[in-house]
């Protein structure tokens, strides 16, 4: 009925009286219920969504100005704390946890009129690239390969959010990105995923994974809708000391500016061994699209790219081991009973954390431990600076960088589960921008021979989401990606 509506369509539809916010939200809540096969929803929030829709309709009836996201059904990764609604991080550890507070980003969206409609499935504590580590089982990609019935991974960790947007259940969803957790699922599901600059959106009320990397961002079906969402999410928050005081520009106004005269870098180090030919061809095609629109394409070098992934797999687990120390069975969530408090800690954490989370906490504890701290953690921080410096030097001559988003299309669920490092390699193209704290967007640019979506990534200067979005819109127009997945509501 109201499928494939974007945020801009919803705004126009409400303004023109084509439908009410309540009609729209009821329609999409029904779609959420019908989307059970995707296992993308951890907790539906129908009451909350309908209340927001009624408020939007009341504003319109009274002739008050519409809010930017009035009546827009938005799904929320279950990593954002929602007051009075259980928040699980897809972990057994947080079962039963009902936050007494609201995350700043979800509060901002609600204040902009959005109807927050469901909490979505993710890899446990956002650690993974397929949602397969979720305590609730994996979410399912709405896309299937031609002649291959196997269910595919939606990517991760924001896989539930990406799947719902791809299946057109909701026009937009919230994700978080630590090493690629918005962009890689966006690429796997054929949607737009934007990781803003570190500090652009408040991290307050987001279950912490790696605090120097975590950043909230939107998943949408168009670049314009990503700009609309980011405008509502972003801004300084005194409750997050790393939240930036930079002014928030009108991201939507920056769209349509084109790329004439922009210099776009193509980093040679991203052309890795074993990259599928189709992906390489699409990347070259993307460069030609930008060139045809008036951009100058420049071969660049980001020499330390190869070391980003190993540096990330020291820094992120180190921060995770510290952040996840709070799950001790004392203040919230799971408690395993034991005679002493030391046993209680160890048993609770054994029972509450899944295998991948335990693995990362253990790695983190090791690289931070006495005698190993300098050899691993400090070394990784030094390499991280070199990676950030590579980008700084590149941005002296280019305005944005064009790369593939993920090294492959969506793989069948269950693959790569017995080899952690093979799973980690999913993030090879997304992790460098994460370490440098840069804004980056993934957008669907085409299908591979099996009919699965492939994504291209644009990386920008700190706090220059505007250029990233402008260039992404040019690619979006050139790609004309309008394919639909097998499962769509």
């Amino acid at each position: 009925m109201m499928r494939r509506l974007g945020l801009a369509d919803i705004r126009a539809g409400l303004a023109g009286g084509a439908f009410s916010a309540v009609e729209l939200v009821e329609d999409r809540l029904a779609a959420l219920e019908a989307a059970g096969a995707l296992n993308a929803v951890v907790t539906p929030m129908p009451d909350r969504a309908l209340e927001a829709a009624r408020a939007a309709d009341r504003r319109r009836a009274r002739g008050e100005p519409a809010l930017p996201l009035d009546g827009a059904p938005v799904a929320v990764k279950d990593l954002f704390c929602t007051e009075g609604v259980r928040t699980t991080a897809s972990s057994a550890m947080l079962e039963g946890f009902v936050p007494p507070y609201e995350s700043t980003v979800t509060a901002n969206l609600a204040a902009a009129g959005a109807a927050l409609a469901a909490k979505t499935n993710l890899d446990e504590f956002a650690m993974g690239s397929s949602t397969a580590t979720s305590h609730f089982g994996p979410a399912v990609n709405p896309w299937k390969a031609k002649g291959d019935a196997r269910p595919r991974a939606p990517g991760g960790s924001s896989g539930g959010s990406a799947a719902l947007v791809a299946a057109s259940v909701v026009p937009a969803a919230l994700g978080t990105d630590t090493g690629g957790s918005i962009r890689q699922p966006a690429a796997f599901c054929g949607v737009v995923g934007l990781k803003p600059t570190y500090g652009r959106c408040s991290r307050w009320g987001i279950v912490a994974f790696a605090s120097s990397l975590d950043q909230a961002g939107p998943l949408t079906r168009s670049v314009r809708d990503a700009a609309v969402m980011l405008a509502a999410m972003a801004g300084h928050d005194p409750k997050d000391s790393t939240s930036a005081r930079e002014p928030v520009p009108d991201f939507e106004a920056a769209l349509g500016g084109g790329v004439r005269g922009l210099r776009i870098g193509v980093p040679r180090e991203y052309r890795v061994d074993g990259m599928p030919d189709e992906l390489d061809a699409l990347w070259r095609e993307g460069a030609r699209w930008l060139e045809a629109a008036g951009a100058d394409l420049v071969d660049i070098s980001l020499p330390h790219t190869h070391y980003a992934l190993p540096a990330y797999y020291i820094v992120a687990p180190a921060e995770a081991s510290s952040n996840l120390a709070r799950y001790d069975g004392v203040r919230y969530g799971l408690r395993a009973s034991a005679g002493t408090i030391e046993e209680q800690y160890a048993r609770t954490r054994r029972a509450g954390f899944g295998a991948e989370v335990r693995r990362r906490v253990l790695i983190g504890a090791y690289v931070l431990s006495a005698g190993y701290y300098d050899a691993y953690y400090t070394k990784a921080q030094r390499v991280r600076r070199l990676i950030a410096r590579d980008f700084e030097q590149a941005f002296e001559t280019v305005d944005a960088v064009l790369t593939p988003t993920a090294p492959t299309a969506a793989f069948p669920l269950g693959e790569k589960m017995d080899d952690p490092i093979a799973m980690y390699l999913n993030d090879v193209f997304t992790v460098p921008a994460s370490l440098a704290g840069l804004p980056a967007v993934s957008l669907p640019a085409g299908l591979d021979g099996a009919g699965l979506p492939l994504g291209l990534q644009l990386i920008g200067r700190p706090f220059d989401e505007e250029t990233v979005l402008r260039a992404a819109q040019v690619l979006e127009a050139a790609a004309g990606f309008d394919a639909e997945p097998e499962f769509v509501l």
Binding site: T197, Y198, G199, S212, G333, R349, L362, L386, G437
Partner: protein, 95 residues
């Protein structure tokens, strides 16, 4: 690089995660493989490179040392596995 059982036990104790005896060998191999892989960083010359401890040179802001929230123990304790009065309850710690 291979980890021995004693090291796995030590890390598990540091991380406060119970590890079953029969898990130790598999975990030693898994963690060892990951650590061996991240050691490729040793190929990078980082002499004279300062560790990156914040993103974009961000400096932590100052604020007044003032209480601006709180005073609702009931709401906080609503999530506690065990509570006594206005406190979290845990197994006896001091003999």
């Amino acid at each position: 690089m291979a980890l021995d059982r004693a090291t796995v036990e030590r890390i598990a104790a540091l991380a406060r995660i119970e590890i079953a005896e029969e898990e130790q060998d598999a975990l030693a191999a898994e963690l060892g493989a990951i650590l061996g892989w991240v050691e490729t960083l040793n190929e990078v010359d980082t002499e004279d490179v300062a560790p990156m401890t914040s993103v974009g040179g961000h400096r932590l802001p100052w604020r007044g040392d003032e209480v601006d929230d709180g005073g609702y123990p009931d709401r906080i304790l609503a999530n506690a596995p065990d509570a006594a009065g206005a406190f979290f309850a845990v197994p006896k710690v001091v003999e």
